[in-house]
């Protein structure tokens, strides 16, 4: 009874969303038909990745009786489509999910554990395998590493040191870098942290800074409270530092829409982006572009770990085919193909050899090292969805000048409330 009530409640909310966002309700309209199994992916706006996935599906369909049908969604409305579909029991058999959502979706009973894949997935980078409660629920073809990108000529002309994995920029050094970039007068902004990006980018990109200061999104011991870690002295220092980047005029509070173009055109001196930026920048700037570790703000550099991963739904009518597809698609050649298309770090060592730059001695190898040395998973608790949105709002407000202490206290209060209301997701 509660379920049907929830369904209609969701419908009511969906109606509200429809007011201006027609895309929202789209998800619930589809169901997998007779001889086909439906696959949902978030990358409708990303032709390269979608193309790679479609190629795998084509290969699979060529040797299987039951066909896979791809349905692509724009990333912005993807999660909402999945939750709406789950509430009305219309989830597709196969779907992808951003890594940090896996625990929530597994806990909520959306996803079925992947069985019989343990040996295959043991060769995958740990951050590309989604686990919850000791079971494997998903795997991804790639991981992404966050890094700083700048030009060698820029650093040389300003007499700045090129940081290395073992000796990254310290907070003071980084402040000096930004000050000199700004003082050079060559750039509109010293750096571009892509502050105009929305959604998961905020916790993904900016919570590592918080962790480098010594704070965190939630106390990982039991995931009961964020008190002391998200509003402690380390977090306050993070907030002040983050805000100072804007008040000192180093970064824009709302950055331009094309981070890479602005950097290539010389509008910004340094950018903070994912490893996906490496190949396009290399293509434009050649050997002048530098891939640098992110800044050490006290506890070593930190970067987010875990990217998009593939999973199977609990309500799948044909789990055999779904699992067969997921096994089929986990082959090294497909890992290489998707990693190549997305220009990210391949999940397996064997696949690395086939991805330009990631083979032995390749210039992209450094991202794999960043991943191995600096990656911190976003808190694997079903409450993460709430933590993520709450942190985003707090960080946005702080960047716009809200009082750090007040803002973070509020975020802690909200997160603690939510964990408690859900009985700590037991």
């Amino acid at each position: 009874m509660r379920k049907s009530a929830l369904t209609v409640g969701v419908a009511a909310l969906a109606a509200a969303a429809l007011f201006g966002l027609a895309g929202c309700a789209k998800g619930s309209a589809s169901a997998s038909g007779g001889g086909t199994v439906t696959l949902w992916t978030h990358n409708a706006g990303n032709a390269a990745e979608l193309g790679a996935i479609e190629a795998i599906v084509k290969d699979f369909n060529a040797q299987s009786k039951v066909k896979i049908e791809v349905q692509a969604f724009p990333q912005d409305s993807y999660n909402q489509s999945v939750t709406a579909a789950a509430a009305s029991k219309k989830l597709p058999c196969i779907l992808d999910s951003d890594g940090p959502n896996i625990p929530a979706w597994a806990w909520a009973g959306y996803l079925a554990p992947l069985t019989g894949m343990d040996s295959t997935l043991s060769k995958f980078l740990p951050s590309t395998v989604g686990k919850y409660d000791g079971k494997i629920y998903s795997y991804g073809y790639y991981d992404v590493a966050l890094a700083m990108f700048t030009r060698k000529t820029t650093l040389d002309s300003l007499g700045l040191r090129i940081p290395t994995i073992d000796k990254p920029w310290t907070e003071a050094e980084f402040a000096d870098v930004l000050a000199k970039l700004k003082a050079s007068g060559k750039f509109e902004y010293a750096a571009d942290f892509s502050t105009s990006s929305t959604g998961e980018w905020w916790p993904y990109a900016y919570s590592p800074f918080l962790q480098s200061f010594g704070g965190d999104l939630i106390d990982r011991d039991g995931y009961k409270t964020a008190d002391g870690v998200l509003n402690g002295p380390a977090a306050i220092s993070w907030a002040k530092w983050f805000r100072s980047l804007v008040t000192d005029g180093y970064i824009a509070g709302k950055s331009g829409t094309d981070q890479q173009a602005d950097f290539i055109n010389g509008k910004t001196g340094l950018i903070y982006a994912g490893s996906w930026a490496a190949a396009p920048l290399k293509a434009k700037l050649g050997s002048d572009v530098l891939f640098l570790p992110t800044v050490d703000l006290g506890n070593g550099p930190k970067i987010g770990g875990g990217s998009w991963q593939w999973a199977m739904s609990q309500t799948c009518s044909d789990p055999k085919t779904a699992l067969a597809y997921l096994k089929f698609a986990a082959q090294d050649k497909y890992v290489a193909a998707v990693a190549k298309a997305t220009q990210n770090i391949p999940a397996t060592e064997t696949a690395s050899a086939d991805v330009p730059g990631y083979g032995p001695g390749g210039d992209m190898q450094i991202f794999r090292q960043f991943s191995e040395k600096f990656a911190v998973l976003r808190p694997p608790t079903p409450g993460y969805t709430f933590i993520s949105t709450t942190f985003t709002t707090a960080a946005q407000n702080i960047l716009n000048g809200a009082d750090p202490k007040q803002e973070l206290d509020q975020a802690v209060k909200d997160i603690d409330n939510n964990q408690k209301q859900n009985n700590y997701y037991k």
Binding site: A16, F19, G20, L21, T83, A104, A108, A252, G253, T393
Partner: protein
């Protein structure tokens, strides 16, 4: 929330009680007509029940529970906790404030601008059809597309600031500055929705008989006097319609905010509907979102009652 707005609309536009009684009296003697009436009423009744009444009732129930969008646990009754949290939530008050400011500004300004434009394109000169089309164009363009375009135009070094710089004004970072963001959204919203109300005004203008203007000009009335004494009274019913439609649209402000600012900076542009969708979908707190919707429902109800009262009052005086 949509449903709430709609119910407000239908309530306000419902014909007066007299017409209802007359129809009812006629039907009593004719059984066959009654069956036909019920048959014709049924499809609408089912739709209204399924998509309006039931969701509203559910909203009322869910508002007192901790129901979640993604959860294997059933929602439980938690009394007024959602409302306690809501009324101590500064985002809620910001949403309420922004919704009210937006409505108060947009209702008079948008209807006035639309009337002005309608008067212009109602004059008998060449090319009015062209201008009518131009003014109507933003209405038929998807609001998402319009919002995206204005997002680019409002950038710090976007089109608007470049134009302002040409006349020596240093424009602010429109959507990034808490003082300007809501203003920027208001301007853009007026531009987008004005065309629709222009058409409504225009239809009203064209129902005013030409003889009245002839008579007025024979009496030596100036253009302004003609407007005050002929045009304005002639637009009475149009005015009511415009007032109600703009108010409803203004209360439902969502798409622009969702695309352009996501409620920021510093809650400067968050609205009740945006907050409800945000809480309900992104934060997945169905119960809390239902509580916001209930507050929104009450707000729209109050405004509708006031509007009903005001428009009825005028009819009586007349």
């Amino acid at each position: 929330m949509t449903s709430v707005a709609h119910s407000a609309g239908t309530a306000a536009q419902r014909p007066g009680p007299d017409t209802g009684t007359v129809r009812h009296g006629k039907m009593r003697g004719q059984g066959k007509e009654k069956v036909v009436a019920v048959a014709m009423f049924l499809p609408a009744a089912i739709l209204i029940l399924a998509f309006l009444i039931i969701p509203i009732i559910l909203t009322f129930v869910l508002a007192f529970t901790n129901t979640r969008l993604v959860s294997p646990e059933p929602g439980t009754f938690i009394g007024l906790t959602n409302f306690e949290n809501l009324f101590t939530d500064s985002t809620f008050w910001a949403s309420l404030r922004n919704t009210i400011i937006f409505t108060i500004v947009i209702v008079p300004v948008q209807s006035a601008v639309a009337l002005g434009v309608a008067l212009l394109v109602n004059s008998k000169v060449r090319g009015t059809t062209f201008f009518r089309t131009i003014y109507f164009l933003p209405v038929v363009t998807s609001i998402i597309v319009v919002s995206m375009l204005w997002l680019f135009m409002y950038q710090k070094n976007g089109l608007i600031n470049v134009l302002l710089a040409k006349i020596g004004i240093q424009g602010p970072d429109w959507l990034g500055d808490p003082h300007w963001a809501l203003f920027a959204i208001i301007v853009m919203s007026i531009w987008q929705a004005m065309g629709f109300h222009m058409i409504v005004w225009l239809s009203g203008l064209q129902t005013i008989p030409g003889e009245l203007y002839e008579a007025a000009s024979l009496d030596g009335a100036t253009r302004w006097q003609q407007f005050v004494n002929v045009t304005w009274p002639g637009l009475r019913s149009t005015r009511t319609f415009i007032l109600i439609t703009i108010t409803i649209a203004a209360f439902g402000l969502f798409a622009q905010v969702n695309v352009m600012t996501q409620g920021g900076p510093l809650n400067a542009t968050t609205t009740l509907v945006y907050q409800a969708v945000y809480s309900g979908f992104r934060q997945q707190q169905t119960g809390y979102a239902a509580a916001i919707s209930m507050v929104f429902f009450v707000l729209v109800l109050i405004v509708t009652l006031i509007q009903n009262f005001l428009t009825r009052d005028k009819e009586a005086r007349r």
